[in-house]
Amino acid sequence: MLRRTLLGAGAAGLCAASPPRFAIAQPAQARVLKMVPQANLTSLDPIWTTANITRNHGYMVYDTLYGMDETFRPQPQMAEGHVVEEGGRRVTVTLRSGLRFHDGEAVRAVDCVASLQRWMKRSPIGQKLETFVDALEADGDRRIVFRLKQPFPLLLSALAQVSNSPPFIMPERLARTDPFQQVREVIGSGPFRFVPREFNSGSLVVYERFAEYSPTPVGRPSLTAGPKTVHFDRVEWHIIVDASTAAAALQTGEIDWYEQPPPEIQLLLRRNRNVQVEAIDPLPLTGILRFNHLHAPFADKRMRQAILPAINQADFMSAIVGPDPSLYMTDVGVFTPGTPLANDAALAALRGPRSVDRARALMREAGYTNQPMRLIGPTDILAPSAMTQVGADLVRRLGFNADIVLTDWGTTVQRRTSREPVERGGWSMLFTSFSSFDFVDPSAHFPLRGNGANAWPGWPAIPRLEELRDAWFVAPDLAAQQRIAREIQEVTMDELPYVPVGSYLSITAHRRNLSDRVKGLALFWGLRRS
């Protein structure tokens, strides 16, 4: 055989073996959903870490006793119901029958007890609940009994907590793991089964529908409550870090859903008729300006108050989401706009004409004499980075002797834990943002804590805030909670542990043929392809 003949035959074979291009460009198979998540899934234990991506992974694999509906009311999920006795000091939750873990074992009350005990060591509201619990025990296979020192009105809300380590139920053998160590296996009783053999952190995460999952018969899908009915056999998370590449893959149909496209990409995607661009959560995230209360210049309350006249929430928000005012909110206070505790108490200082000159005058009155201050922030996370850029411009215009330190997120996270003064590497101000669920109420609202050395970085010591938080936990009803929430906001706007700098919507983009998406998070039940 001539060499040329051989090469020709080889080339012909290669072409014959090639699938036509149109087959590749078609949308994924009808029963497979491909999504680009907001971040890489690195750790698989949603109790061990509070990373949002791990929380979303948790909702795929695990289930909770109670789910939270979009009006923030807890609804039975794995639970069939509960009974409150002894004036609220004994609460018995009964499991639905027929629940199974992915390894085939039945879900028992003892699994739930072990899971909740581990969760109470890590979750903020779990830690609070633990202080109320005298005993938590299994009564048979289906009853979980809370014996409380005093009534804890938020018990069901805690069990339905949406974010910051939701109380996911694991088999007892895994739930016995030290809460500061990761579990070694991913076994839940949720609607999807994790496929470990295909897991490639940084590239691909695969879930398969759990055929034995039995959705709650109660209600309709609403946030994490209601029946979790799955319409896909397989869900693939493809980690694509480059936004342009992810957007191109969505446009060509190589993927079905891009969870968090950045604003400039959103503009591009809105022009594509096959792509739907919408808010992933009708509730917004909130940005904050955090002061370091330990050192000058912001250890002085008057200095914190002095810069308020110069804060323009619209400036910060438009830096994140662009100029479209429908994508952000101003006049934002301590709690997530649109939720029961959001209120307008003491927000006058953030309204009306903004004035850098007025702020400078107040700084002089407060005794500012060019002490050094340091603004730290990341360059690689969209919202904090954008707010930090606006903040850097603001502190310069205010005449601060400012050192602006921009680093990657990992360095910022470490650096903000420094309690040293500026001259020894410490910091004075930073910007970051929190999800809608974090600011729904005081339970996991870290910047609102006033517990000094144990508080979130910035370490404000504001005892009144702590008193109000404690009072909120035992408030008997929503009206009482709302009264406390107003006072919390008044104290916050006076003491200024932080300044709210506005709220913005998180936008998602998916192929238009996807419908019935459950709003709030990247959730995969209910969702179907038309």
């Binding site: 290669l14 073996a17 090639s18 699938p19 291009r21 149109f22 590749i24 460009a25 890489n40 690195t42 750790s43 698989l44 061990w48 870490t49 509070t50 990373a51 890590r122 903020p124 910051n164 030290d178 500061f180 160590q181 990761q182 070694r184 490639n200 952190s201 940084g202 590239s203 691909l204 493809h238 980690i239 694509i240 870090v241 480059d242 342009s244 590449t245 992810a246 191109a248 893959a249 446009q251 060509t252 190589e254 690689d380 680093t407 990657d408 997120w409 990992g410 360095t411 996270v413 470490q414 650096r415 834990t417 970051t432 929190f434 996991a444 870290f446 050395a453 144990n454 979130w456």
Partner: protein
């Protein structure tokens, strides 16, 4: 020759030891704390400290370095702080895409660049020569990601000819595998083609002035035979050297290319690990890259003997 190879392989040990010390020390003094990243926003300082202890990050420098070195000597690259997976497993998951990308890029670059350089030298001063040199300047100047985006835009989005992202293992067929590598290889190979073409041209120009080339012409050797058999073989040593040095370019460029085309390779693994401060992964991957680089240099040195019989080891 055999003794030389053994000596060179043994010489990699101190090199790797220095690299290990350097990488470990650099990470030790670099800012960032994986425990703080893991613990999340709401963690108390006590929580962060407890995680740090559980990860062994609270131990002194020498203890940590000694433990890591001991594990390395026992063939254990450690376990990822975040995924809890052995570093060797993570590297094994990622090595095929990176290796595939580099091999395809190398083949593409050499098969395009060497003929380009040879022809440019042969046609020195003509339009062809100027076109090759212009390509070399542009290819060397345009960043990899720009080339990548342009290719993705035209070949994937506009013309729908090739996929825009991802990687398909070779086990699923040659064409599916190659299909995902064509655009990344062109993007990554452009700078490499420019470099090799330039060096090939310069070296060939020098060789083409030699007396034996004139003699070959006088004896009636054909153009192709003269260029590729007589001249190119004698010009090969510097070209092979540049190809070897260029492996470092490829490793660096692979990081960007893998990001642009979402290829789950070692480059992405390295960047992700650095951003999260996943120390064992960073250390493992950098050690691997260093090892590969040392081996490539050895292979290049050995290749000299093929092209120039006067070289002996």
């Amino acid at each position: 020759m055999f003794a030389y190879v053994v000596r060179r392989v043994l010489a990699t040990i101190p090199v790797m030891a220095v690299v290990a010390l350097f990488v470990f020390s650099l990470l030790y003094i670099a800012p960032g704390d994986p425990a703080a990243v893991i613990a999340g926003d709401q963690a108390t300082p006590a929580d962060v400290e407890r995680i740090r202890q559980s990860l062994g990050l609270d131990r002194p420098y020498l203890v940590r370095f000694g433990a890591w070195l001991w594990d390395i000597l026992n063939g254990d690259l450690g376990t990822s702080i975040f995924t809890n997976l052995p570093v060797s497993t993570m590297i094994a998951q990622r090595i095929e895409p990176t290796l595939s990308l580099m091999v395809v890029t190398l083949i593409l670059a050499i098969s395009v660049a060497v003929p380009m350089g040879v022809v440019a030298a042969w046609k020195q001063g003509t339009v062809i020569d100027r076109a090759v040199m212009a390509f070399a300047v542009v290819g060397f100047s345009v960043p990899v990601f720009v080339v990548g985006y342009l290719l993705a835009y035209f070949f994937a989005l506009e013309w729908d000819l090739l996929p825009v992202q991802g990687y398909t293992p070779l086990s699923r067929g040659v064409w599916p595998w190659l299909q995902n590598l064509i655009l990344p290889a062109i993007a990554l190979g452009t700078v490499y083609i420019a470099l090799i073409a330039r060096i090939t041209r310069a070296t060939m120009l020098e060789v083409l002035q030699q007396d034996y080339i004139r003699t070959a012409k006088a004896k009636g050797v054909g153009q192709a035979g003269m260029l590729f058999l007589h001249a190119l073989k004698n010009a090969a040593v510097p070209i092979v050297t540049v190809i070897g040095i260029g492996i470092a370019l490829l490793i660096g460029g692979a990081v960007v290319t893998e990001s642009v085309f979402a290829i789950p390779g070692l480059g992405r693994l390295t960047v992700d690990a650095i951003l999260r401060r996943d120390y064992p992964v960073i250390q493992g991957v950098v050690l691997l890259f260093s090892f590969v680089y040392v081996l490539v240099n050895l292979a290049i040195d050995l290749a000299y003997t093929l092209f120039d019989p006067r070289i002996r080891y």
